[in-house]
């Protein structure tokens, strides 16, 4: 194990597993009790038929409503408008946005060497503007609830994660410095050249040593009063906005105020979940740009502090509970990194220990 799954064993996973897995102890150990492995087999078959982990990353296919003779022409008209009119228009807006952005950003970034404070301010505004253009390119109907984030040291924002557009939606209101996975292609280029100027930190989730570097950078970033507020998606991966997977504890160990942000997409026009294994980010954007609109609610929740005697993991769970309740998401105990790694053997060991204890216990009598 690479050690990344090691966080798993801190969670009380039994609470989430089906009841059958907690075996009632038979009174005395007989051969039939041992040969009857049906509870374990039932559990295995149950996981094969349906499991809560896969459900977290299932995209919902759009349901066409062209099922009768009256609706069909309407639906066709809709398709024509969406692909023939809206999409080119939006593409034009996006292109214009990029041109304006680069025309202003590049000179400021490379030529203005004098006043750093002003340069940062302008760059920040430009990034916010570009994110606004992006949101407009899918007719983002975003409702923001609660007070807007303010810039001060010793705070970190955490949000649930559905797609990279989460970042764009949050960024258009406030320039956050975000912690994100390194991406290839044009996204990687933007990460490298532009977003670094707002203080974003990149890492590669498969590199174990990147973790320490990121942890150190995080600490440094939260100390600086002038830095942009830090935004972390502690799930570490995109989830389909119906579930939330385990929060990584890194964001909760920094010793600063944690401000939860809950994001809920309305799937009425398009499913905003980015299934990165099936679709490139470009195709994901095209899908959003050919839909009528992206409807979404964002709640900025009250800042939370580590309570006395609370471990960072419990703290993370508490925040996850708040976000899940606000955005109406179901909690599952899985580490999102299980998409990339196998679970830690420790969980199997716990089941084995339980069984062994009951066997040994009865042997003594």
């Amino acid at each position: 194990m690479v050690g990344l799954g090691a966080d798993l064993d801190h969670l009380n996973i039994e609470e989430y597993l089906p009841e059958e897995s907690i075996q009632a102890e038979p009174k005395k150990l007989h051969l039939n009790d041992f040969l009857d492995i049906s509870p374990t087999l039932t559990e295995a078959a149950g996981a094969i038929i349906d499991d809560s982990f896969t459900r977290c990353f299932k995209s919902n296919p759009p349901e066409p409503w062209n099922w009768n003779i009256y609706l069909f022409p309407l639906w066709c008209l809709g398709v024509m408008i969406r692909y023939g009119l809206l999409f080119p228009l939006r593409l034009a807006i996006l292109t214009a946005g990029w041109i304006v952005f680069f025309a202003a950003f590049l000179p400021v970034h490379f030529l203005w060497t004098g006043n750093t404070k002003w340069r940062c301010k302008i760059e920040r505004k430009l990034v916010e503007m570009m994110c606004g253009v992006f949101v407009a390119s899918w007719t983002g109907v975003v409702k923001y609830h609660g007070p807007r984030p303010s810039r001060r040291p010793q705070q970190v924002f955490v949000a649930n994660h559905t797609s990279m557009i989460d970042f764009i939606i949050l960024e258009q209101m406030t320039a956050f410095a975000v912690i994100m996975q390194k991406h290839p292609g044009w996204v990687g280029f933007i990460q490298k050249t532009i977003l670094e100027s707002v203080g974003c930190i990149w890492f590669n989730r498969t590199e174990a040593k990147d973790r320490e570097i990121v942890a150190r950078k995080l600490r440094e970033h939260t100390q600086g009063a002038d830095n942009n507020p830090l935004l972390i998606f502690p799930e570490g991966t995109c989830v389909n906005n119906q579930y939330t997977v385990m929060f990584k504890k890194g964001a909760f160990e920094l010793g600063c105020a944690v401000c939860p942000v809950a994001i809920k997409y309305n799937k009425i026009f398009v499913d905003a979940f980015w299934n990165s294994k099936k679709q490139s980010f470009t195709m994901h954007l095209v899908r959003l740009m050919t839909s009528w609109a992206v409807v979404c609610d964002v709640w900025y929740l009250e800042p939370q502090y580590l309570r006395d005697g609370e471990t960072p993991i419990e703290f993370a769970e508490r925040i996850r509970g708040m976000i899940a309740a606000r955005a109406g998401l179901k909690k599952v105990p899985w580490d999102g990194y299980l998409k990339y790694f196998r679970p830690s053997p420790k969980l199997t060991e716990r089941k084995q220990q339980k069984f062994a204890e009951s066997v040994l216990h009865r042997l003594e009598k």
Partner: protein, 175 residues
């Protein structure tokens, strides 16, 4: 993946239903096919052991290593046939057959002390010593009236397991 069920014709469904002894309804087979396609990531037509183990809830199962030897490379027909033992309609006999197959993993028709030890090892891991395991098994076999070097055939399983009220059912979610 889109509409996976459309690739399954009525004829296919009938065939799979027959192969699995009519233990699943047609709707259930369609639901299982969707799941099969989801697990068969590269649409090869079968599910590899590795893909089964990518389900965390499955890979955490103490018997997963043993089960994957039975499951590796299952096509859809055999996938359904395997799961049919967990249907509500399956007889206790069929359920016991599956349990027997798990013990008798190299299908020699008999289960000996070595097989029993292996399963107990899977279930208890490092939390029991090898001597303790042997001791427990000897104790149990003796109590049930078997010699320690006896090998159990399927009829013995029926006799032993017939007493315990076994509940081995998994519902197929239909949407």
């Amino acid at each position: 993946m889109g509409n996976a069920s459309s690739m399954l014709t009525q004829y296919d469904i009938d065939e799979v239903q027959e192969h699995s002894g009519y233990l699943f309804s047609q709707q259930e087979i369609v639901a299982l096919y969707k799941r099969f396609c989801q697990l068969d990531r590269n649409a090869k037509g079968f599910i590899s052991a590795d893909e089964f183990l990518s389900i965390p809830e499955f890979s955490l199962n103490p018997l997963s290593q043993r089960l994957q030897r039975m499951l590796d490379g299952l096509n859809f027909k055999d996938f359904v046939a395997f799961l049919s033992s967990f249907s509500q309609k399956a007889s206790p006999q069929q359920k016991m057959e599956l349990i027997f197959r798990v013990y008798d993993v190299d299908s020699k028709g008999r289960v000996n002390l070595k097989d029993l030890l292996e399963v107990l090892r899977d279930l208890t891991g490092s939390f029991m010593s090898e001597e303790q395991r042997e001791q427990v098994l000897n104790h149990m076999l003796e109590e049930a009236g078997y010699m320690r070097d006896a090998s159990l055939v399927f009829d013995d399983f029926v006799k032993i397991l017939g007493k315990s009220g076994m509940k081995m059912e998994v519902e197929v979610p239909i949407d």
